[in-house]
């Protein structure tokens, strides 16, 4: 599941790159509560699936997966249930980091380590460890890639197909993208927002392509909706531009590898974060450290990088990419 094949500090991966460490030896059974938003798109589904798969690798992990929900109030109740239940650790991918902060604090105060995944809490004390994808960095990476391709054309038309617009992470990605483009004198000429689903991707892109008769580059935040984005592009018979994806699904990477579509590159947003979280939760609960690191204590924050995958390096990533 790991998208970081070079065995990054996250130390995760069903690839088992570092599975040799003694940390994998069975210990006391650890009950881990896991709560994430509704698995209403491939990346999020993969997050839960990877967490489950990670837990299955260890016979000493008992993972309690709460129903994915986009209702913060319901997600709070799930964490409350975990606290009542006295689980040993909680891996939490909040629908809204700020909104989940108080309940996470409560859990920490109750002595349950909370591993915050993907969307950050507003209070650092609310989590023992924070595993983050780098949303702003993703936008930067995408922007820089486009700059490198188009930097010499100040009039180039750049379009953006964002994800769910009301999520802060979308804002961060767009911000990073805009900032990086500004570096080379470009800006976003057309922007639409989809819902992370194939269908919405197709729909907004169909309209986008009508709005912009001539485009040089498109950044699409999410490879799930990207399938729809590509379908719309094929339907419209357009190929005058190149496209950069986001998240890094296997599908997208195969497309890049084949080089048969406008998709030239994608920016990885690791779907392994929750799996990392589960693994860290186990270590914390069993009072172990990260023996592979110099500082064996589990660190407070881990930010996963957002590398750009192109035809040149796709082979390196494709095996660990998630199927959406």
């Amino acid at each position: 599941t790991g998208n970081t094949p070079e065995a990054s500090e996250s130390g995760s991966g069903s690839g088992g790159n570092n599975a040799a460490s003694s940390n994998d030896d069975p210990g006391d059974t650890v009950v881990i509560g896991f709560s994430a938003p509704a698995a209403d798109h491939g990346w999020m589904a993969q997050i839960t699936a990877a967490a489950q798969a990670e837990a299955d690798r260890y016979e000493d992990i008992d993972l309690r997966v709460a129903e994915g929900t986009n209702d913060v109030s319901a997600q709070i109740a799930q964490v409350e249930t975990f606290i009542n239940d006295g689980v040993d650790a909680i891996v939490l991918l909040p629908f809204d980091g700020d909104a989940m902060t108080p309940i996470a604090l409560e859990a920490m105060q109750a002595g349950i380590p909370v591993i915050n995944v993907d969307r950050e809490f507003s209070d650092p004390n609310a989590a023992r460890v924070t595993v983050l994808g780098d949303n702003y960095g993703m936008g930067i990476s995408a922007g820089q890639y486009i700059c490198s391709e188009l930097g010499d054309q100040p009039d180039a038309v750049v379009a953006e197909v964002a994800g769910i617009d009301s999520l802060p992470l979308t804002q961060e990605r767009s911000q990073g993208f805009a900032d990086a483009l500004a570096e080379c004198g470009l800006d976003v000429d057309n922007r639409v927002a989809a819902e992370f689903t194939v269908e919405s991707g197709e729909e907004v892109t169909a309209n986008l392509l009508q709005a912009a008769p001539q485009i040089d580059a498109i950044w699409n935040h999410d490879d799930d909706q990207g399938i729809g984005v590509l379908a719309a592009i094929t339907n419209a018979g357009r190929d005058e531009f190149f496209m950069v994806g986001g998240a890094g699904s296997a599908n997208a990477m195969r497309s890049i590898q084949a080089g048969d579509s406008v998709l030239q590159a994608t920016v990885i947003y690791p779907a392994s974060q929750a799996a990392d979280g589960v693994r860290l939760a186990r270590l914390l609960a069993q009072d172990k450290g990260l023996s592979d690191l110099t500082d064996v204590e589990v660190p407070r924050q881990i930010t996963l990088s957002a590398p750009v995958v192109t035809a040149d390096n796709v082979d390196q990533y494709i095996d660990s990419a998630f199927e959406s």
Binding site: V65, E67, S73, A77, N84, D96, D98, P168
Partner: protein, 366 residues
Amino acid sequence: MSTPTTQAPPATGTAPRRGTGGSFLSGSVGRNAGLVIALVILCVVGVVTAGDRFASTDNLITILRLAAVTGVVSIGMTFVIIGGGIDLSVGALVALSSVWATTLATQALADDIHWIVMVGTALLVGGLAGLVNGVVIAYGKLVAFIATLAMLVAARGLAEILANRRTQTVKNDGFLDFFTASPLGLPALVWIFALVAVVGWVLLNRTTFGRRTFAVGGNAEAARLAGIRVQRHTVALYVLSGITCGIAAVMLMARTTTGSSTHGTLLELDAIAAVVIGGTLLIGGRGTIVGTVLGVLIFTSLSNVFTLNNISSSAQAVAKGVIIVLAVLLQQRVAAGRKQRRSPASTPPTAADGAPAGASPGVPAP
């Protein structure tokens, strides 16, 4: 309800139907016996499968606290639906109220004066948006479904603009302290829910406002001919619903310490489902607060039991669908059985016998 034979179609308003008011215990709860049984079964399943983890006080409080937000909105929704309308905008109004009550400006004002300013803002915003709904529906004569759908879309957009799509954190300690306290061992949110439910019950069953709500929803023409100002009453119902959204916003703000344009997503479906499962007719004129409260509790306990038993979300979804159908069928059978016992002479209900309006969105159970 009566024997299905004589069940008239919803559109005629002459269908024999179940009682509305009635005394609290013998009436409302009795009439909702099926729901109570469904809830009890759910609890038994919870205890059997999760043991003490389910039956603990903490867990029950968790269920109640989760039920509180949806519950408050559902009470307002009950009024609107009994009055013959529907309010799809509740989730968006919760979001808008929460955002408005947590803007920097409002919070600054709250710091200067008192945190009650934030509460007032939330209620005011909810109430005003409800007023707009009501006026458009009653005087503009727009179909409620469309008018409140438009409000849903617009209010969420406005909330996003106000909040600039960021989550706004509540900084005011007075506010947080007040609403996260647990007087007498019950969280403030649960107290608020209880209060709103009781006030709602009294308002619906013991005041002229409540009587008129039934009349407006049951037969608006008759209500008009009886001298009730139907339009004005309709507006009042949507304002009421908007105010409950404001209350729910305050509760969410307390629970999450944030105001956000994503609060209350799909809350409208939860609320309507709770109201309808609680026996309120979608065509109006009929419904109970107790049924709504039971409906909310059933949905909340269901997810709690699922979470405790670690069922995968997809399987949960399938199970939830089946359980909803079973719960309502149970409620119907029990109600039919009670009816039988009360009037032993009446025909046993048979499938072939009448029950013509299965197709209708609001047809009561036989």
